[in-house]
């Protein structure tokens, strides 16, 4: 069976979670720090700190003392061989997985390891999954409407009705992701590429400060990929983006700083050229 230690930790997580659930809407997290959804402290021009994060499943170390910082408005690409811990890292940032040790801060004040997924989303982090996850039974329009930055408490949604400017916002994003023709089609019927776009669109509707994008162009045609690259670069600046990709061409197209993950920790960092020149990287990654 499971070691008591494990149980302890599990209980600790539970408590933290319970705390937050109670505190969720009145704006003050369990740790006493005050935040309001969307408001974060960028006084040091850094939007994300990952410090010494370790996560292990059944003894296997998915993340091993990972440390990483993302600057506000930066567009960062993360590459690395399979099993390097890219997805796990995103799980940690979005609260899906709790780190065994280490800290994760959003801006100066928000301790991500103590918030639940919805709270993190409110704080301003949006995430796109490796496999596009959208609401297949809802129309593209509804998908975006649901994602829209708004008061997401039960009692609001009960009486919410779509305002004109909100409608316009949705329409705008629909155009941006080129789905304005398919607005009313059930999302389940969209092509893979379109689904990818729709999910990106949902992120945009959230108006997050930090976007985490897990292999956003997988299954896209070349020109779709191209357009995605344009979109991302245009977003950089007012948003910060972290893109995980295998597609080197795409990474190149994005430009910006590249971080190489390997066996759960940072192997190298810098612009693509330097990284590709790095012998260790060639060894573990490009070498093959």
């Amino acid at each position: 069976m499971i070691p008591t230690l494990e149980i302890e930790r599990e209980r600790a997580h539970l408590d933290a979670e319970r705390e937050n659930q109670r505190e969720h809407w009145d704006g003050s997290a369990a740790d006493g720090r005050v935040y309001r959804p969307g408001e974060l402290d960028l006084s040091h021009k850094v939007i994300l700190y990952l410090d010494d994060i370790t996560v292990s499943f059944d003894g296997f170390r998915a993340l091993n003392k990972l440390s990483l910082t993302i600057d506000a408005g930066e567009l960062r690409c993360i590459i690395g061989p399979n099993g390097a811990g890219k997805t796990t890292m995103m799980d940690v940032i979005t609260g899906k997985t709790r780190p065994d040790s280490g800290t994760a801060f959003f801006g100066q004040t928000i301790d991500l390891t103590r918030l639940t997924e919805p709270e993190i989303a409110h704080a301003g982090i949006g995430r796109k999954f490796q496999k596009p996850t959208i609401f297949e039974h809802h129309s593209a329009f509804e998908n975006l409407e649901l994602a829209m930055k708004a008061d997401k408490r039960v009692r609001r949604t009960l009486f919410a009705s779509l305002l004109d400017d909100e409608r316009d916002r949705v329409a705008e994003v629909l155009r941006q992701i080129r789905l304005d023709q398919a607005a009313d089609r059930p999302a389940g019927l969209l092509s893979h590429g379109q689904k990818q776009w729709l999910e990106i669109g949902m992120l945009l509707m959230q108006e997050p400060r930090l976007l985490l994008l897990d292999e956003p162009v997988a299954g896209m045609t070349d020109d779709e990929t191209e357009r995605t690259a344009e979109l991302f670069t245009s977003l950089a600046g007012k948003h910060s983006l972290v893109v995980v990709e295998h597609d080197m061409a795409f990474v190149e197209a994005l430009g910006g700083k590249v971080t190489v993950l390997c066996e759960g920790s940072v192997l190298a960092e810098g612009d693509l050229a330097t990284v590709q020149a790095d012998p260790r990287v060639i060894e573990v990654y490009l070498g093959r």
């Binding site: 930790r9 539970l14 499943f57 959208i134 039974h137 409407e145 039960v154």
Partner: protein, 415 residues
């Protein structure tokens, strides 16, 4: 600018839906009463007392079915414990009915007979106030609501999903049944409550009262349909469906599923409670077997037969199954379980969308736009609203279930 609530309430249902409801209301509130009270027994259109209370009973079942559909069809949470909430409502109102018997019980005592027989000298504390109708009505809603809320809060917070949830709801109602079977529990044990005499002093067996109860049941059903319809077409409803389809995504765009599920779950339980309260005086008895797991499963069966994920379907299902039961237990006393059994099998195999689904298929065949017909519109509109084609739902159920593995608890369990 915002559209006013009342307007949106009205818009939530297509015109056909409103017309259908209006017709139903007219029949239930005017037709039946007149046919039962005014027309002589000999008159071909006379509605027998037997029929009135039978239909009244079925109306209550329909309400339960709608409540079940809201939580199962739209939120994807299958409860095998709704019988409990139904029975709790029934018992809550039954307490009032027992007190109304007064000294007309066979022991002629102030206390209900079963208490006299247990040598109890005064009412247990939880019977306090049971002689007031208002308090009873409050309990009818509050009791199931509270039980559901507490249970739901823990269950949803621990992210118990799918079958696990279904089974513990079953455990819940089963435990409650055993509890109520105990005589010491103070609810009449196996005999439960029966031999009711009056409500607010009016004779409960009088035709007037019978018709009133029937009309009230109809009113409750109408209210449920309107409310349900509004809920599932509101943004709330869309979020709920979204949770059913991809809970993790819902969380990552900032909704807290716990609150949504809990709200719908509690509301559903309360509706069941109301139905139970109207059911008891019409059938004249409430006993713990109402809480038996089998009864709760049957509720799910009604919904499935009618068409899960469409309010109309829930209503139809409850009606068909129960009428079939009533008819076949008379005409095929020994064989009716076969009929019902095969009905369920056939429906799940060949009509994944239940009767409504069949209806839609038939309409669709005749390419003629199905939408001119009221109820088809209702059905189709609904399905569009939630895309509730059960055939596809399980995929999403699996999806939803998948994220259980990601919760800290599950991780602990995996270690």
């Amino acid at each position: 600018m915002r559209t006013p609530f009342t307007l949106r309430l009205f818009q939530s249902m297509p015109r056909g839906g409103w017309i259908a409801l209006a017709i139903f209301a007219a029949v239930a509130w005017i037709g039946v009463p007149v046919a039962h009270l005014a027309l002589p027994e000999s008159h071909p259109l006379h509605v027998f007392a037997y029929t009135v209370s039978l239909l009244g009973k079925i109306l209550c079942y329909m309400v339960v079915a709608v409540a079940m559909d809201l939580i199962w069809g739209y939120a994807g949470i299958l409860s095998l414990g709704h019988g409990l909430f139904f029975a709790l409502g029934g018992y809550a109102f039954g307490m009032y009915l027992m007190r109304q018997i007064g000294r007309d019980g066979s022991y002629g005592a102030e206390l209900p007979d079963f208490m006299v027989f247990l040598d109890w000298k005064e009412l247990p504390w939880y019977w306090a106030g049971s002689d007031s109708l208002l308090w009873a009505l409050f309990l009818v809603v509050a009791l199931p609501g509270l039980v559901a809320f507490v249970f739901g809060w823990f269950a949803f917070r621990s992210r118990i999903k799918g079958v696990y949830f279904s089974i513990i709801t079953q455990a819940l109602t089963y435990a409650a049944m055993l509890l109520f079977f105990r005589n010491e529990t103070g609810f009449g044990g196996n005999n439960g409550f029966t031999d009711f005499k009056r409500i607010l002093g009016y004779d409960i067996t009088s035709p007037g009262m019978r018709v009133t109860l029937f009309a009230l049941s109809a009113a409750l059903l109408i209210a449920c349909l309107v409310l349900g319809r509004y809920l599932v077409t509101s943004r709330f409803g869309r979020v709920l469906a979204a949770i059913r389809d991809a809970e993790s995504r819902v969380m990552f765009i900032g909704y807290n599923p716990l609150h949504y599920k809990l709200f719908m779950w509690t509301l559903s339980a309360m509706l069941c409670g109301l139905a139970g309260a109207l059911y008891v005086p019409q059938v004249g008895i409430i006993n713990p077997s109402e809480m038996s797991p089998a009864n709760s499963i049957e509720i799910a069966v009604w919904v499935a037969v009618g068409g899960r994920g469409t309010l109309v379907g829930a209503v139809l299902g409850a009606g068909i199954v129960n009428l079939a039961k009533s008819v076949f237990t008379v005409y095929l006393p020994e064989y009716w379980p076969f009929v019902l059994g095969f009905l369920f099998i056939v429906v799940t195999l060949y009509l994944p969308d239940g009767v409504v689904g069949l209806w839609r298929k038939l309409r669709a065949r005749r390419a003629a736009a199905a939408l001119d017909d009221a109820s088809a519109a209702a059905g189709a509109g609904l399905s569009a609203a939630i895309g509730g084609a059960p055939a596809e739902v399980p995929a999403t159920e699996r999806q939803a279930a998948r994220s259980t593995a990601d919760t800290p608890i599950a991780k602990g369990a995996n270690a």
